[in-house]
Symmetry: C2
Subunit: 286 residues, 2 copies
């Protein structure tokens, strides 16, 4: 039935996964750092990423938008275009929504996905390898470049990663029959992998060398004169996927292993240290 009626009408059979995500101006993005088109694109991808992290395929979505009074019709059009572009990329339909006034721009996106065997956070087993699809740290580097007003070609991929993240739907499809646990990295690898470890009653051990082998991240870290490892562990909003599995996952690379115990550890050549699982603060200076 679609937009304009009180509710959308869907015909479904089977298992659905269902998520809602919210992006608020000043908290998750800043309008001075992002076009309206990108606000729409990014908020849609952020919500869809939760579906990918369950190993499911996005199916359809509703969006509720709170508009401040300074919001022009052209802004709304650009925003809607960004949502549509994102929906098209992940082959999902936007079947309805809601518009209201409010003090600040905020976007709630709810997505239904289909997948017969959704992957949760709590299933990791001791001995499983830890697998990563996509980059971690790049979006945080891009946000830092934007807030510091830096212009450097080495930072361009990082800025794009923050502005227009991609939900890793194709990679997510590899999870369904193989992964024991999975999550998307929205709050930083340390924090999100920490959720998997805690939910599974295990310790996670990350391999330092594997985390800093991402060439784009290394270049961005150089341009920022900061450490790539810190960005990889604590940078959020890349919407990478991290999973545990005893077997390799197509499209993922190995970054560590699960073992008995608790906590998050970093293994270098000869040593191992306990890591903090603190999260990503969007606009906090580090």
């Amino acid at each position: 039935v679609g937009i304009g009626d009180d509710a959308a009408v869907l015909h479904s059979a089977g298992t659905l996964v269902w998520t809602i995500d919210e992006q608020v101006d000043g908290i998750h993005f800043r309008r001075d750092l992002l076009s309206m088109r990108d606000v729409g694109f990014r908020s849609f991808m952020a919500a869809t990423s939760d579906v990918a992290a369950m190993g499911a395929t996005p199916w359809c979505a509703l969006c509720s938008v709170v508009l401040p009074t300074d919001f022009a019709d052209a802004d709304l059009e650009a925003f809607a275009r960004g949502q549509r572009d994102a929906a098209r990329e992940v082959q999902a339909g936007i079947v309805g929504g809601n518009l209201s006034r409010g003090p600040a721009l905020s976007v709630s996106t709810t997505v239904l996905g289909r997948g017969e065997h959704p992957v949760a956070r709590a299933g990791a087993r001791s001995g499983d390898r830890i697998w990563l699809a996509g980059s971690v740290g790049l979006a945080a580097a891009g946000l830092r470049a934007l807030t510091q007003g830096l212009s450097d070609a080495r930072l361009d991929p990082a800025v794009a990663a923050w502005r227009t993240p991609r939900a890793l739907i194709q990679a997510g499809l590899a999870l369904e029959s193989r992964a024991t646990a999975a999550i998307d990295v929205s709050d930083g690898l340390a924090r999100d992998l920490g959720h998997v470890a805690r939910a599974s009653g295990l310790a996670a051990v990350l391999d330092e060398a594997a985390l800093v082998e991402d060439g784009l991240l290394v270049l961005a870290a150089e341009a920022l004169a900061t450490g790539a490892l810190d960005l990889a562990l604590y940078g959020g909003e890349d919407y990478a996927l991290v999973a545990t599995s005893p077997v390799p996952l197509p499209g993922f690379r190995c970054i560590g292993a699960m073992r008995t115990g608790a906590g998050l550890f970093l293994r270098s050549k000869d040593s191992e240290r306990l890591l903090s699982t603190r999260g990503f603060d969007h606009f906090a200076e580090r």
Copy 2:
């Protein structure tokens, strides 16, 4: 799977209706006029009402809440209790959600409902009667009493109607096999029935006498020294159901009829006049 994972997991077969609704502090409610428990209750019922208006049964819900920094843990508990109370009343499950920070309290509620033959807005036929379940105008009278600081026993039912509206699930179940069109009255009867008339390519004729026969509304209007008819036509947020059908609908009363043409009309004893279909302004003085 429920709260704590990236997404809820549902097993479904058949037709679903799906809606999202947003309630923003200062626009749809004011924290000085409403307890936190009632903010939770009311936002849940407002969203569920859209499912009732399709003739469907609420099944499950996700809630995304933006919390301002002055929001205490006790506030969040009271809010969640209100949501739970509302969900229990309509026998729906809250299966997940999202919390974020922001400049003002706002609540997005998305509800999935089940119903084999959802009723849309566009199916009314010439000659159908117009049917109403629940009160219209009472919630607006209650809001006016609160904003004007009036205390009068005649206004108590009106204040309760605004603070703790009920989605009319049972009445909605009568729609499925009988109604040609239906909508819930959130923006005022004139405006919402106007949507049905326009979508169906018809005119709607309301019966003045039927609109002012609600004893509670008449008493509330007396206490406010205002007209009951104006409240009934332009007061919003009662979440009454209005439907069109050639046959009586259990739990509904007849308030008019559809005919060929366009527009919204009010019929009194000997005359008929065209009505404005303007909507309800939550906090505007009239």
